[in-house]
Symmetry: C2
Subunit: 340 residues, 2 copies
């Protein structure tokens, strides 16, 4: 087990000063060519690698970016992380991932530990808990300390920073329009409880589309599910209670649960009922029938978020101009809807 070599060791070994070694390795013109050659050869031989901690301490940059997400066993979030990783790595940054587990407290703790000079900036998507409480002091604090911050997907209006979101309302709108255009008359919505920004926005888009196309809105056609692990029952109730020929779901799981219910009740998909979901994940791609979905472009979202953050980190004068990038959703047509 040979430990890493340090500048000092090279210096004593070669009988020069530490600064000479440092400069030689950075190819400074202050150092004579033969000395440089000698030092560089020696360093290469002993596989010298500068200690990144020391460098971080020196220039107060860590080249780490902190990513805080509510959950990691989750298709959308991992897609975003993928995108972040990609551009971060290309720019020489490492990604430290923390999970808030949808809890406000964990989110705060994570931010605080990371903020103690572990990272140069944050990328975060808020936990449900935080969105419910509307307590954003931890974000404000980070910003106050000059720590750049980019929010994605689950964002807050109350915080002034760079953001990347998808146009959830418009995505839902497009989905409803799609269903209508392919012949649906009565469209149900399976959504989450309202405190989640995305649930609210998608519901809005649904309502707007109905309004625009002259279809009366019926509260009864909406089912709001709180716990994703118990979605079968409320969905079954919906089928019991109402007749409809189109379903928009706020996520994949609700969508396939609804399709399961439909199949069991003898409906043909998409002939009798069409389905569209959000989140273009495994389930959408592989369910039978494959699910038409509103794609949220998670990868791109991650890439943009990372790019925004890194720009802020590397610009010389810090401008206080923040900007919200709104991604357009697209509809991925598959087997659960009639062809357009």
């Amino acid at each position: 087990m040979k430990k890493r070599v340090t500048l000092k060791q090279i210096a004593t070994e070669l009988d020069v000063s530490v600064s000479t070694v440092s400069k030689a390795l950075r190819n400074s013109k202050e150092i004579g060519q033969d000395t440089k050659d000698k030092i560089q050869a020696f360093a290469k031989f002993y596989n010298y690698k500068p200690n990144s901690i020391a460098i971080s301490l020196q220039n107060r940059k860590t080249k780490n970016i902190g990513v805080i997400i509510p959950e990691i066993v989750h298709h959308f979030f991992t897609t975003v992380v993928s995108g972040i990783e990609k551009v971060a790595n290309e720019a020489g940054y490492n990604v430290i991932v923390c999970l808030s587990d949808e809890s406000f407290d964990k989110e705060v703790i994570n931010m605080e530990t990371l903020a103690n000079s572990s990272i140069d900036g944050f990328i975060i998507s808020l936990s449900k808990d935080t969105q419910k409480r509307k307590d954003f002091h931890h974000l404000r604090e980070a910003i106050n300390q000059g720590m750049p911050l980019v929010m994605f997907d689950r964002v807050s209006d109350e915080i002034y920073c760079d953001k990347v979101i998808v146009d959830d309302a418009q995505g839902a709108y497009k989905a409803v329009k799609y269903l209508l255009d392919t012949g649906c008359k009565r469209i149900a919505l399976i959504s989450t409880t309202d405190y989640l920004s995305v649930g609210k926005l998608r519901t809005m888009g649904y309502k707007n589309a109905l309004a625009d196309f002259g279809i009366p809105f019926e509260e009864n056609l909406i089912v709001k599910i709180d716990d994703i692990n118990f979605c079968q029952e409320p969905i079954a109730e919906l089928f019991e209670r109402e007749k409809f020929d189109g379903v928009l779901s706020v996520n994949e799981i609700f969508a396939v649960s609804a399709m399961r219910e439909a199949i069991q009740r003898g409906f043909k998909i998409p002939e009798d009922i069409s389905f569209i979901g959000f989140t273009d994940g495994m389930l959408s791609k592989h369910f039978y029938p494959r699910l038409t979905t509103v794609n949220q472009h998670g990868l791109q979202m991650g890439e943009i978020a990372a790019r925004m953050l890194i720009n802020k980190l590397e610009e010389l004068e810090d401008d206080e101009n923040y900007h919200t990038e709104v991604l357009k959703t697209t509809i991925v047509e598959r087997e659960s809807t009639r062809p357009y």
Copy 2:
């Protein structure tokens, strides 16, 4: 924007020395009570937090652990990361996640950048590429430099370190036994190409089970799929070519693709054909019919891996005893098989 306070600033402000401040904040008995009170109050007021970089430099510990996985948009790996995060956080460690993208080169680069004092130890699952090449010099190097290393799931015999794996062979064995016990006579296997350790092991388990139960092994009943994105065709061929009443798949996607094929061809599941898959993810839980699977206990695997690593990091004398933890798989019974 108020920057963080440092010991030095507190010291000059309060007209004491830096060491006094440091000691006062760590509640050293060397410092008089009133001085301590004064300093602590001041520090609290200005929200002093020690700079973790400086501390890392000092004691050559970063309290970060590096996790290298092939992919992050992947149920099993994220489950493992979840487990790692959990125990790491409890022990005060941050998790730096790097993706190898199944590429040897990226794996090497990731390890090298992390090894330059960004982390205290590694947890890694090998990329396909690395397993194919059998080049493990980067792992050896890390170990040589005294960097503890824990491997999980996709491991190598050639490296001597702590490991956590599931008993893949036995999992496949149990699955085949399950199918046999519930009345299947002819069982097909949908696997990956052989260089992947897990594919090989599961195939072995399949063969062993057949042998043990006196069933002749038929090469024709195995289909090996290379690219997960083009699995439908080879599966269709299998259905064309052979008759069988049980299918074991090496992952979820192959399993549901096979079920799709079966349904389309008018087979009833599980009456005509039973299915068992590996990886207990979204698809298994929500497909219609829900898939009986071999659970690999990813969460537990992550927890154990993290615990092993942290033990190595925190033990005083480093013992060179490494140990491989083998997790037992369990079968999660659902709708794609007949009741036991």
